[in-house]
Each structure stands twice: as C-alpha cells, then as structure tokens.
C-alpha cells in the first residue's frame, strides 16, 4: 500500500472513533443519538479528507501516520470541548478549518523545496522575538491568569508565542546548521549567541511572568544545539544556567515564587491560589482506572458553576483524565509518544543538516510542550499555562500545530523521496 493510501485507511479509523466519541457525549448529555453527532464526525472526516488530498498532491511520499494521529488528537480535543461547552466546540471546529488551511498553504507553498527557508533564518528569528514581546505591549497585550501571553486585536485574541515557537525552530535549525562546526570547537567567543539566547529566555520569564514558555523555548534551543554540535556538556551547561537563572529569578518574580510554593504544597493553598490545581487533581483522581465515561464526568457544581477554571485550555488533560480514566489518558499519552516517534524517525531519515535539525526541533518542541502542560497538571513540575498540542481549546495553538505538522510532512516527503531514488519501487 502506498503512503497516502495507508494515510487514507488510517483516517477512516479515526473517523469511526470520532463518530463514536461524539455519539457517547450526545447520549450522556441528551440521552439520544442525534444526527448532529454524526454530522460533526462527517464534517471532521471531510475536513481531513481535504488535508489528505493536499498531502497527496504536495507530499505524496510523506509519513502516513502523522496526519491521522493529528486528526485523532484534534477529534479528542473537540469531543471533550464539545462535552464541556458546545459553543466553544463550534469555534474550535472553525479554528481547525483555519489550521487545515494553514497546513495546506504551508505544504503547497513549500512543496518544491522548503530548505530555502534557511536563507531567511534571521527574518524568522527576529520575527519570533518580535512576536514574543507583543504581549508586553501596552494596548494589545493582555494579562490572563497572571501571565502575559496574549495579544488582543479587536475581538480576536491569540497567543503569538505559539507561532513564535515554530519560527524560532526554523531560525535555530538554519543558524546552528551554519555554525555547528564553529560552535563544536568550543571557543569561548562562540558562546556569545548562546548566552544571548539564555538572556532572552530569562527576559521572557520576567516579561511574560511565565516559567513554562521560557522553559519550552529554551529546551528546544538546547535540544537543537546538542544535536547540531554533538556536545552534551553544552546542553548540560545550558541547563545549569537555566536552573541557576530561574533560581535567581525565583527571588524577584513573585508569580514564579507563588507557582513554586503551590507546586510544593497545593493543599495549604487549596481555597486560594492552589484551588485550581487541587480541584484538577481531584478530577484526575475521580477518573480512576476506567474513567467516568465521556459526558459523565463532574466539572460543575450542582448549580452549574464550573469547578475548574481554564478547563478546556490548560486543564483539558484533567477533564479527559476524569472521563477516560487511566486507560484513556495512557492511550492519549501513547498517541503523543507515537507522534514524537514518527517525528524523530523523520529527523533520522532526513538527508541534510537543516532538515534534521528542523525535524528534531519541531518534534522535541511538541514533546516538551506536552510534558510541560501535562506535567504541570500532574504536579510533576510547577504548573504553567500553555496548551496541550492539538487538544486544548485555542485558535493560535491549533493553527501553529498544523503548521508544525506540515513542516514534519515536508521534511518526511523529501527524505523518503531521496531515499527512494536509488532503490526505486513503491513501499
């Protein structure tokens, strides 16, 4: 079976799962299976069919599993968002349409050779930094839940950090591909850029009040740096610098202090700042092994007030964990692991340095973002508000992740096409 036929077959499976998921929520909410549930699933399938056709046209040799896995993740997300608030699910559905459009544009625009992006690396780098500082601007910047991560233009609000993440990865891949030999020599003067980026990460913490996004960008940077230079101690030194720097900032940024003390003992703040995390843990615990079932979880008081703020964005995992239980949440995490495995595989198969670094950056960023938000919800690390890729409610996140997916498919297509040339034949 060709790559794209395999992808199509997988999408069929995803469509069936999506239909079942929506049907269960419908039954739980209204005790009836309405055609509405099926139309949602059909709409979903049609949308991904479009994405599939575009992939067939633009990247026929790309990995056949990534698109179905992304489809399944968005389906899980929309199902849970729908369960929590049907209105939000509609908006999220629209954002997925925009995401697929961005996916299509990226694929079609770069289908001949995405590697020309490398020559624009500085533009990407500067734009990324610019985007990161947008929320700090007076009029359009917006502080939500204590963190400055949002930009507000008219009625649309978005997190520029999501897009900046991808641009930063393009910049890092291009920059480090070029400088890897120089950096690998380990001369002190070459560490200028490294320190500059460390400084920028610290500034981002101060500016956004958010440890999580800083950790994300910085983690991606260290990962790409390590792969490019093959110097493990760079990464180690970078990590030490980060930990030391955040340790220092801990004393000066009250919000970081608060987050850490909630993390250490949420129950002593259970009625105030630790309310969200403790209730979220109760939600996860209430799921138990087999979960309450889609639509059967408890997320509101008997008066209908929401128990956990930001349930469909930062805390979507604790909603899913309650309804799907350990079986379901482990399956969800395995899906993320599989997605990352395919991503790293693409990096391994890629032929050139830029492609490898790009694929590693995108994949590791995806893994790290999942770890930071779910790890925060699970109290493995202090909680910070970033989105769960493809699942959380939020337009900027969905669109950015579709672009990320397109990037991986582009690299994959090229790697597979090049690899196939000498061997020939279809696999």
């Amino acid at each position: 079976m060709s790559y794209r036929n395999r992808e199509l077959a997988n999408l069929f499976v995803v469509a069936i799962i999506t239909g079942l998921g929506f049907a269960s929520v419908y039954i739980a909410r209204s005790d009836i299976v309405s055609t509405g549930s099926l139309s949602y699933a059909l709409f979903f399938f049609a949308l991904y069919l479009v994405a599939h056709v575009i992939a067939r046209l633009a990247v026929p040799q790309a990995d056949p599993y990534l698109l179905p896995m992304a489809a399944l993740l968005t389906a899980i997300g929309v199902t849970e968002i729908y369960r929590l608030d049907p209105g939000n699910a509609f908006r999220q559905g629209l954002w997925i349409v925009v995401g697929v459009a961005a996916f299509a544009v990226t694929l079609l625009a770069l289908r001949h050779d995405y590697r020309r992006l490398e020559s624009y690396k500085y533009i990407f780098g500067l734009t990324a930094v610019g985007l990161l500082f947008l929320p700090a601007l007076p009029v359009i910047g917006e502080q939500i839940n204590g963190a400055r991560l949002w930009v507000h233009v008219g009625s649309i609000q978005f997190q520029p950090g999501e897009l900046a993440k991808i641009m930063l990865i393009v910049f890092l891949a291009g920059y480090l591909r070029e400088k890897r030999e120089v950096l690998a020599q380990g001369r002190l003067k070459d560490f200028g850029p490294l320190l500059a980026i460390w400084g920028a990460a610290m500034l981002v913490i101060v500016e956004t009040n958010d440890l999580g996004s800083a950790l994300l960008y910085y983690g991606i940077f260290l990962a790409v740096l390590y792969v490019a230079t093959a110097r493990a101690w760079y990464a180690a030194a970078g990590l030490v610098l980060f930990v030391g720097g955040s340790g220092l900032l801990y004393h000066f940024v009250p919000r970081v202090q608060e987050r850490v003390s909630i993390w250490i003992d949420p129950w002593s703040h259970a009625t105030t700042s630790g309310y969200q995390i403790t209730q979220s843990l109760y939600s996860i615990g209430n799921g138990g092994f087999d979960g309450k079932g889609l639509g059967k979880g408890v997320f509101a008081t008997t008066n209908g007030h929401t128990l956990i703020p930001q349930l469909n964005t930062d805390f979507i995992y604790s909603a899913l964990a309650q309804e799907l239980g350990l079986i379901g949440s482990a399956a969800l995490l395995l899906l993320y692991m599989l997605f990352c495995l395919r991503g790293f595989r693409i990096a391994l198969l890629a032929q050139d340095g830029f492609s490898k670094l790009l694929a590693v950056g995108l994949t590791f960023g995806f893994a790290l973002q999942t770890f930071i938000i779910v790890g925060g919800v699970l109290r493995i690390i202090p909680l910070t508000g970033i989105t769960l890729p493809f699942v959380s409610y939020g337009g900027s996140s969905v669109v950015a992740n579709f672009i990320l997916l397109a990037g991986l498919l582009l690299v994959s297509h090229r790697a597979n096409s090049v690899a196939q040339l000498p061997m020939g034949g279809d696999r």
């Binding site: 909410r29 109760y282 209430n286 079932g293 059967k296 008997t302 995490l333 990096a347």
Partner: protein, 491 residues
Amino acid sequence: MNRQITRMAVVGLVLLAALIVGTTYWQAWAASGLADRQDNSIQRVAQFTIKRGKIYAADGRTVLADNVRRKVGGQTLYFRKYPQRGLAAHIVGYSTQVRSRAGLEDTENDFLTGSNTNLSTVLDTTFDKLRGTTVKGNDLHLTLRAGAQAIALKALGGKCGAAVAIEPRTGRLLVSVSSPTYNPNLIEDQYNLASRPKWGCGPLFNRAEQGLYTPGSAFKVITASAALESGKFTIDSTFHDPGYCIEYGDKVSNFADQNGPEVFGTVNFTQALEHSINAVFCNIGLTLGGRKILEQARRFGFYSVPPLETPVNERAISGVYNNHRLFFPKEDSQVDSGRLAFGQGPANADIKVTPIQMAMVAATIANGGLVMRPYVVERVVAPDGSTVTKTKPETLGRAVSENTAADVTTMMEAVVQGGTGTAAQLPGIRVAGKTGTAETSESHVNTTWFICFAPAENPKVAVAVVLERQSATGGTTAAPIAKQIMEALLP
C-alpha cells in the same frame, strides 16, 4: 547527528512516559486518598450524579425519600425530594449540598449511593458503570408505619413533644415523631424557613431521640423494677402513706391538686403505682438507695446511647446529669435517692431521659424483661429487587426477670384500669401504662409523660409520649395521644 537525534528521542519519550507514570500515581495510587479529602468538590457533586435509593415506610409503598432528575449544564443530577415532607423527617433526615446530610440519609449513605461493599452491590454498580448507565443506589425499607406516624404527628399538633412506639418482641421502631416537625424539602434553599420555630420550639431538633426530659412518675416503672428485683419488696408489700415522705429531715409531699397533697393511708405496692404515690416511692428509694435504682436503669439502657441507625450525635444518653454532664454516683449520698425514685431530682443531680429510652423501658417490661435493640431499617433492597441486608432482631440483655416483668405488667395494668392512666383504655384490649407529670423550674409548667404497652398478655406495641410545657397531668394530656397511637398500630 543521528546518534544525538536518537538520544533526544529517548529524552522526549522518557518525558512523555513520566506523564503516564504521573497519571497512574493520581488515578490508581492516590485516588482513594483524594476522594476522601474534605475540600474535594467533585466528590461532593458526584454524589448527586448517583440515583440514590428510595426510602420506604414499612408498608413498602409510602415513599419517604425520592429523587428528582435535573439537568444542570448538560450534567444529569439527582436531587432529593421528600414526598411525605415532615412525616418522618427526623429519622430520614436529608441529603443536600449546602447543609450536607442528616438522619438515615447520612448514616445509610453508602447503601443509598450503592457504594457499600456487599458483593452483589459492587457487581451491580460495576456493570452500571461499564454499561454507562447511571449508578443506582439501594433502597431502604424502614420499620416506621406511615399511618401511625401521621396520627401521632396530628395528635401532637400544636404541642412540643415526641412520641415513640416500639414492637416489644423485635425492637422495631414503629413510630418516631418529634413535634414540631420540619419540611426537609426546604433545607437546601430555604433553611431559615425550615428551621423557623413553631409553637415556640425549634423544629429541627429531634425530640424523640435527642430530647432529654425529666421523667417524673414515668420513672417509677424503673424504681418498681429495682424494688421487685431487690427481693426486699413484692407486689403485695404494704406501705403507709401519710401524704409525704421525710428526706434529709424535710417533707417531700405527694402530688397536689386543688385540695392540697393527696393522702392515701395504707396501700399495697400495686396501689402505690396505680395512684402514683410519691411518698411510697420516696421511701422505697431511700430503702434501695439511688445507686441501686440507677443500676436498674442502666440495665434498661440508660447511660449508653440508645441504639438506632441514625447518626450517633442525633441521639442522647439518658441518666443523671450533673451540670449538664452525665453522672453516675459513686455513693448513694451523691443523689437525692427519694426524689430520684419518683423521677425528679435537684438541679445538681437531675434525672433526664429520652422518649426512645422510655419506650425501650415499656417494651422491655412487655417483652418479659429482655431488652431488644431498637432498629428502624428493616431491609436494604438492591435496584433489581433482591435483598442486600435484612436486620435481625437482637437482644441487648436482660433488664429484669420474667417474674418481675409480669409483676410490673400487672401493676401497670392497674394504672390504666383504675389509676392515673384511665384515658389510655382501649375497648377489649388490656393496656398497661404509667403516667408521668414532671415539675419544671417554672410553677404549673409540667413535662407530661405516658408510657404503655398493649395488649398486656401478648404485647404488640410499646409507646412513650412526652409533652413539653403542659399545665395538666400526663394522664390527661399524654395518655390520650398514646391511646391513639396504640389504636393505629394494633390490628
């Protein structure tokens, strides 16, 4: 570069694997600890996603607690509804969100929510969960007789007091009403309305099991039992009643009507109880000593919380109270033995009893001296109709010998036949009873009692009625109410 990529892949996958470990910790290892935490709002709400079992009266038809289904934000919740309103409010209690739970709704919560650990229930709820249907709790079938409850409540209307009826041979609680009662449907949203005093009394307080009252002459049943058990007295013992008894050099007078204290002259023991002669019982008390009387009371169940399935803090202990603290004298001199014998006491050693305890006393005499454990939950029934548990009658011990019980029965029959309790007579049925008119700190304000059982030869029902703030006697106020309750319960 590929080696580094592989390593980063390992790092990434380890991070994600850590999330699976973390989730496992919270959902498997720590889950039960989280569920038990006080501030767990989800668990509080989750209670309302379960279709609680219904609570039925003894007839199996009268629904005392039911559910109403309500959709809140797409969530199906079940709230309690009490179709009979105040009929058995103090026993059934309530299950609300803001006021938590009370009564059987509290203590039987595990059964009602299907979270009890009986194998059949565990299987049922597991299948419910797997099928995705609402978990249904088990139903409670109580021993309370709805008709008699209603009659008792009506008879107590306008008065503050309580009535308790027990089936002597088993300990089944047939009637337990506290007047005024309250409407449990109002507890959640209109608590102030539900708790508003009526007839000058708080309605939430369960007078039947929690109310502590001075027993007055109703206590003479216990003194008579102690006297007969001691062997120093028989049913035929004769006494001389000058109209008073000398204690600590002071006169303790008989009950006085408008003609002054009654004087009976020479009487036997039966007549002494029949006419409730304080002077005779005062002398018996002085002969026996307070400790002996209280030992007897203890065998009837005093000095321990009366057994029942309701929350332990909704039941009170009968006994002598010294400055509101339960007190058992080490020496006879620590209590006023003469006054204790007819159920009165000075403030520093006050005999206080609950209506359920006095019903237990009557039921014990009726049951030949064996104390039966009172119970109100007859059966727990699974949603499919099968019985989860059934309460078996249980003996708590022997309070008096069969002979003593028979003698006290004879004496109590005389009370109803020709003594102070004639108002409780039932045509064609032998009734044994004892009145009580306890003085309170206010003059002409009495706590009145009637305890009784019937039919005397084969007792089916034992009743205790107490009324607060009465100007008349137990024989004229409480006995007619006890009569109505007996009528309602006897075939």
